[in-house]
């Protein structure tokens, strides 16, 4: 797909998220917007998937470590054809299969449980190793937030992945500098974070996480390495492309009103 098409899909997913959280009356819209472009490239260009056969063992794997951003994962899965779009409005309700955080057994296309922060890299590493051991030639893609990199297990997994030479593991760090309670730079000494991954012997690239061409190119570079895990550090904007959400942490978890949904439609109408 072209860069323009993928950018438009990213914005389509953003609007899906706004509409979904509005209809469901619950969810985390802000954290979805910063990863929309990465999601678009992965699900609509890069990953080897079969929506008709979600458990096809040769497929690429995806781990949304920052599982609270699941509205955009569910939107991507629906638009890929894993389930009907109208199911999205059931998000977080008792009679829907769309759980508050990703569930691998209830939701077609979801490869693991996620949502308890910090665990995605280790789980992705296990997937990468499991595929490698079975001779499956594929990639495991993980998206981690920056806030969750405060969790110790991220670095346990980083250490193990380098030792295990996990060349089939590609991790995107969504560096939007926000977490639930405020700015990452105020709550921790995580930054500069790229240096830390390099110190753990990962291959590190730094890009603009909203530049679709850069995302594609970074994946291509990461795939050239067969014996080192890759981190693609993505500078992003929380709430990206929804004007009232941009860099506004109040939208970490908040439900847009009908007027706010309209504002989002207006902002995105020529970009989808």
């Amino acid at each position: 797909m072209t860069v323009d098409e993928l950018s438009r899909i990213a914005n389509r997913l953003r609007l899906d998220v706004v509409e979904t959280v509005h209809a469901a009356g619950d969810g985390h819209p802000g954290p979805c917007m910063s990863i929309a472009d990465i999601m678009s490239v992965l699900f609509f260009d890069e990953m080897k998937l079969d929506p008709q056969n979600p458990r096809w063992n040769e497929r690429d794997r995806f781990v949304l470590s920052k599982g609270h951003a699941c509205p955009i994962l569910y939107a991507a899965l629906a638009r890929k054809g894993y389930f009907p779009l109208e199911e999205l409005k059931g998000l977080r309700s008792l009679d829907s299969f769309l759980q508050g955080h990703p569930d691998m057994n209830k939701i077609p296309g979801v490869d693991t449980v996620s949502g308890s922060l910090g665990n995605g890299v280790a789980i992705g590493l296990g997937m990468a190793q499991g595929c490698k051991m079975q001779g499956i030639e594929n990639y495991v893609y993980v998206i981690v937030g920056d806030g969750e990199e405060e969790e110790g297990i991220i670095w346990e997994a980083a250490m193990a992945a380098a030792k295990m030479k996990a060349g089939n593991l590609i991790v995107f760090a969504d560096l939007n500098n926000h977490q639930s309670g405020g700015k990452v730079t105020e709550l921790s000494s995580l930054y500069p974070v790229q240096d830390k991954w390099e110190a753990f012997h990962w291959h590190v690239q730094s890009i603009d996480g909203h530049d679709v061409a850069a995302i594609k190119e970074a994946i291509a570079q990461a795939k050239k390495l067969t014996d080192r895990p890759s981190l693609i550090a993505c500078k992003t904007l929380k709430g990206k492309n929804i004007p009232y959400m941009e860099d506004n942490n109040a939208w970490h978890k908040r439900v847009p009103t009908e007027e706010e949904v309209e504002l989002a439609r207006e902002a995105l109408k020529d970009k989808m």
Partner: protein, 313 residues
């Protein structure tokens, strides 16, 4: 079977299973030697994933492996596994019901003995019993550890095998039957009282049954080698005969096998059940036998508890 310890016995069964199934892989947070998996690693060098001292990582990696169809076994000390990696077991293995096996070493006060509280683990069974979907196996000697490990490998889904220090006495004769999910009558003199026991304290329970007999009390000793799912119907049948019981385990009295027995008793046959375990305190370092004696798990304690259970209030 020629093994020296419970840990070796269990690992022998794992190794035999691994010869038949190339999906079996061991995840070690620096526990290969402790789990007696050195020979497994020699035989299957590519099927041991060493992650360093990082139990949480080990459990999550196992979860990821299991999603691809591999059959990972995480080996570690019981507490580091069930406490440090508790949430990972619950959320990423038990909740999705992944086929991951867990082997916990140093189960009980006896397991950690001279190491002290940091390495004695009497909460593991209670912690895991509170998680839906995790099966719990608590063998009583090397032969049973072998059988339990073998049975565990034949199960689908999450399961936990509790092992001890590896120096536990042999208590059951060669050829003693083993069945996952079933209690087993070890010896029955009569129905005056039932003794339910699980794990590596079985030798004391056997002695207590004999002592009771010598003192004119004819009881029944029941081996509870599967704590979850508990054979509740089997327990109920025993309680209907004896109408009183004592439950003995090397675990805190909250959450473990004795709690499970009481839950079954409440439901099927309410009666007096005396419980012997660690009485909700932290013990000290010491030699195994001295520790058990000091903390209320002497043979005499079991005998007295059995008589107390029989006494009308």
């Amino acid at each position: 079977m020629n093994t020296k310890s419970t840990r070796e016995a269990a690992m022998l069964a794992i190794t035999e299973a691994a010869r038949r199934d190339d999906k079996i892989v061991i995840i070690s947070p620096d526990a290969v030697a402790a789990a007696r998996a050195t020979r497994f690693r020699e035989e299957f060098p590519d099927r041991v994933i060493e992650v360093g001292i990082a139990e949480q990582d080990a459990v999550d990696i196992a979860a990821g492996l299991a999603t691809t169809g591999m059959k990972p076994i995480v080996v570690s000390y019981a507490g580091f596994l069930t406490m440090r990696a508790c949430e990972m077991i619950r959320t990423f293995i038990a909740y999705p019901g992944l086929n991951v096996k867990l082997i916990g070493l140093n189960g009980g006060m006896l397991g950690g003995e001279r190491e002290g509280v940091t390495h004695q683990f009497y909460e593991d069974v209670g912690i895991l019993r509170s998680m839906p979907g995790v099966k719990i196996l608590t063998p009583a000697d090397a032969q049973q550890a072998y059988e339990a490990a073998k049975a565990m490998m034949a199960l689908e889904g999450p399961a936990y095998l509790r092992l001890g220090s590896g120096r536990e006495p042999e208590v059951f004769p060669e050829g003693t039957p083993y069945a996952f999910g079933k209690i087993r009558e070890v010896k029955r003199y009569g129905d005056d009282v039932a003794i339910f026991a699980s794990g590596f304290i079985m030798n004391r329970a056997i002695e207590a049954l004999e002592q009771l007999h010598a003192e004119g009390v004819d009881g029944t000793l029941i081996d509870v080698s599967t704590v979850k799912p508990l054979d509740s119907q089997g327990v109920a049948e025993v309680l209907r005969r004896t109408d009183c019981a004592v439950a003995v385990e090397d675990h805190n009295i909250y959450g473990g096998m004795s709690s499970a027995i009481c839950e079954a008793a409440c439901h099927y046959h309410p009666c007096k059940v005396r419980r012997l375990g660690l009485m909700d305190i932290y013990p000290r370092s010491g030699k195994a036998a001295a520790l058990l004696d000091a903390y209320g798990l002497a043979v005499r304690d079991i005998v007295d508890a059995a008589k107390d259970a029989m006494a009308k209030e």
